[in-house]
């Protein structure tokens, strides 16, 4: 087959065309573009074009992708109560508008600080927000997401504790996070020990005490946990301290930090979590932003990039990537992490969101989530057919149990254009009738009433 001649095959994203190519070839001193590929052996070269669709115009792309997106049933035209680690909060219009500024969107990792102060200062501000919110001392520039942030925290704890081989992770930590930890550490010789919950949905501290042997380097819990229940940080910290383990708190619903006492105030060493709730759409799971904040004493064990303040030769305040000797491009096989590219633009989104909401807004969002969830729980709790099985304190998410399998109830609600929750059975097979319901400031009272009425009616219908 004849392959297209690069002299005449112009594309809108590739400026050089016939005359340019001819002149450049002459300057290089070769007679064809193909000659530039002589170093690739002929027997590995493709003698045909790739078999893929395209090239498409923008018109064709819009047509296909819009039709494809329209085949999803989403919060676009459904009333959604989905959470479980990805939450629908209000996204201030400013956030996305500012993200689209080319100077942020189309720049690289800020290796050259003189021409990257915008990105560097923004990361420094992001780090500051994380410290204020978690009550800890030092935050990094971002990690991939909440699950991999927990992996990095576990690896950090092992480096700090040295020569211990077990990590205790509460069973009420997001199951995807724990699965990811198991994947990450599978060849490193560490064991994961899971500890369950008591009837109130909080970590079973007696079981935790039993699990915390001298070989445990870290205890990781999530609050609010995957069941929505707020943990007793002090009780857990006391048990972990007795074993000399590093205390890791996971926060998967970041807006909770606006109103709940932060892990740093309870002596936790590390707080990691998922920053998606700060103004980032759920977008089927990513991109999100993982955060990590630690006590000052642990900063040199930190994975990933850190931005620090300094001055230039004229004495002007400026920012720069720092403590880089921890990182892979310097320390290579002995680095604190393999991470290079992180989630800078999503960290910028979080910074803009947190700056807009500010001291008062973060509190108001948190209180509205809390009070609206309390209202819905009260409405559901009044129905005889519905049980809220865990009585521990909750923020904006909680487990609902009915006499019917959750998947059937949720299918019923779906007919009424309600995405009613996340069934727990795929994570906890012994809870077939339970599902997670998340409430945010996006829900008006009428939405909550509609959901309560629909759920009560669905249970009645399915029971018949």
């Amino acid at each position: 087959m004849t392959l297209p001649n690069p002299l005449h095959d112009n594309h809108r994203y590739i400026p050089n065309s016939t005359d340019d190519i001819t002149e450049m070839l002459a300057a290089i001193g070769v007679d064809s573009v193909d000659r530039l590929f002589d170093s690739i052996p002929g027997d590995v070269k493709l003698d045909r074009l790739l078999e893929i669709p395209g090239p498409w115009s923008e018109i064709e792309s819009r047509r296909w992708f819009r039709e494809t997106a329209a085949r999803n049933q989403t919060a676009v035209d459904h009333l959604s109560f989905l959470g479980g680690g990805a939450y629908a909060h209000s996204q201030p219009a400013c956030v996305d508008q500012l993200l689209l500024r080319a100077e942020f969107l189309t720049s690289y990792t800020p290796y050259q600080p003189e021409v990257s102060q915008g990105t560097l200062q923004s990361i420094f501000e992001y780090q500051t927000h994380q410290c204020l919110l978690t009550g800890l001392d030092v935050a990094n520039a971002s990690l991939y997401d909440g699950s991999t942030a927990l992996c990095e925290a576990v690896l950090l704890a092992e480096r700090v504790a040295k020569n211990r081989h077990k990590v205790v992770i509460a069973k009420s930590v997001h199951p995807h996070y724990t699965e990811t930890v198991r994947t990450y550490i599978q060849n490193l010789g560490y064991d994961v020990v899971e500890v369950g919950w008591t009837a109130d949905g909080r970590v079973d501290t007696e079981a935790l005490r039993a699990a915390c042997t001298g070989d445990v380097f870290a205890v990781a819990i999530q609050s609010p946990n995957f069941l929505g229940v707020i943990e007793d940080y002090d009780a857990i910290a006391a048990v972990a301290d007795a074993a000399g383990a590093v205390k890791i708190a996971v926060v998967a619903e970041a807006t909770s930090l606006g109103i709940l006492t932060p892990p740093g105030a309870h002596g936790f060493d590390v707080c990691v979590g998922e920053g998606q709730a700060w103004g980032v759409p759920a977008q089927f799971g990513g991109p999100y932003v993982g955060f990590m904040v630690v006590r000052d004493a642990l900063k040199r064990h930190m994975p990933g990039r850190l931005v620090g303040e300094t001055v230039d030769v004229d004495g002007r305040r400026a920012y720069v990537l720092t403590l880089a000797t921890r990182e892979q491009h310097i320390r290579r096989g002995k680095a604190t992490s393999n991470i290079c590219t992180n989630e800078a633009l999503i960290a910028l989104a979080a910074n803009i969101y947190l700056s807009l909401m500010g001291k008062e807004g973060l509190r108001e969002v948190g209180m509205q989530c809390l009070q609206k969830a309390a209202y819905l729980r009260k409405r559901l709790g009044d129905a005889a057919s519905i049980v809220l099985p865990f009585r521990g304190p909750v923020y904006n998410e909680f487990v609902v149990r009915t006499p019917i399998p959750a998947t059937e109830i949720l299918a019923d609600l779906e007919h009424g254009k309600i995405l009613g929750g996340i069934p727990l059975a795929p994570f906890f097979p012994d809870q077939p009738n339970d599902f997670l319901v998340a409430v945010t400031e996006l829900h008006a009272r009428e939405h909550l009433d509609r959901f309560a009425d629909a759920l009560i009616a669905a249970v009645a219908r399915e029971r018949r």
Partner: protein
Amino acid sequence: MKTPAPSLIFEDSRPGRRGYKLPPLDVPEEHDLPESLLRGEIADEAEVSEVGVIRHFTRLSKLNVSIDAGLYPLGSCTMKHNPRINEEIARTPGFALSHPLQPDHQVQGNLEVLWQIEQALKEILGLPRVTLQPVAGAHGELTGILMIHKALAKSGNPRKYILIPDSAHGTNPASAAFAGYEIKELKSNARGTLDPQTLADAVTEDVAALMITVPNTLGVFENEIKTFAQILHDKGAYLYCDGANLNSFVGIARPGDMGIDVIHSNLHKTFSTPHGGGGPGAGPVGVSEKLVPHLPSPTVERREDGTFYLDFGHPESIGRMRAFNGNFNVLVRALTYIRSMGPQGLRRIAQLAVLNANYIRARLKGTYHLPYDAPTLHEVVFNDKNQTAHDVHTLDIAKRLMDYGFHPPTIYFPLIVSGALMIEPTESEPKEELDAFCDAMIEIARECEERPELVRSAPHTTPVRRLDEARAARSPVLRWKKG
């Protein structure tokens, strides 16, 4: 004139200012949390108006250079044009508002996108399966090495070592170490490539894989790649390719046809998704047949009736590499790009990227020293040997380029080149931009001879000048504190 340093958002704060509004609370102002669980105000958090926030971040943005403003020739980073249709498509509400834990029947559109991009990458890479879970190149490396470990462990011995050439990216040894291996570094030859004999001597029954970048970080194609595969496969070891430089041969040759067992592809490089100041990326990993059982779970599959589902039935999988479904909305952007390019366009990427790099090489050779003379593809690595006589070094040249309006190339990498200047223009640059860059480089070389102090003290025109990096590391200030 010395411009003042911009304020931090926290310094812009004034009590009582607001940047948001929520609807009034429409449920009773009640909750049942004990006061002990509630925090007081978030001390020192910002209080800024919407106007203040917009101005603050707009002003910050103006302190950055970007690919939209001009050539950004960071070697190995592939700073190419980021088409805006990709951004528009990713913001389609049906994608943006979809939730990662929705059941398959509600997200058929998303699953088709994932399935389609896997089909495209399979064809581009010439490999039977591709996982879309990894969200960055290094994440892909870890995924790939974990799969190799799993496959070897299944056959009785996971082995001990990963071989890595001395020209490799730092993520390679770091990823291999986190996957449980020790690293053995292999020396490059005078061409900057790996000698088959060096590899053959190093491959023992204890070696799990070779991890190699193709073309390597000098831009030189490893023309013995099929021999490497043979040597490794004969000893039951694997060939891992760092696909950071796929941009140079996409559509021209396929990793699968070279005997490569695993390759990650940085979608934020070859497939145009924006770097965003350091992410998000995506690092899908293609694998050969024998590694397919070990792919991360779940995978996306298509039924005969054309519907799609997440398949969790992989008992030999390495497990899950991340919560949910990877960086879905980065994958949407990359698929949009692949469709926009089509088969001819993908091939043209490599052709023009290589032409542009060789044009720079031809124009600057002679002015700057070329430590390795082998033919190069998409990037060219010079060094400062001709300039050090005037006591001007790579760092100075890089900083001086900023005064000419260009982002510097990657510097001091690869490590096998002393004072490296690693230049990758990509296919996005028109000839006139390349000429302006080369003119600037030649002018700087002249300055090195005639006015070396001007270059040593550069940059002179940037928002800030050279920074005291030692001070930042010696007494780290990593957050703002109320003064």
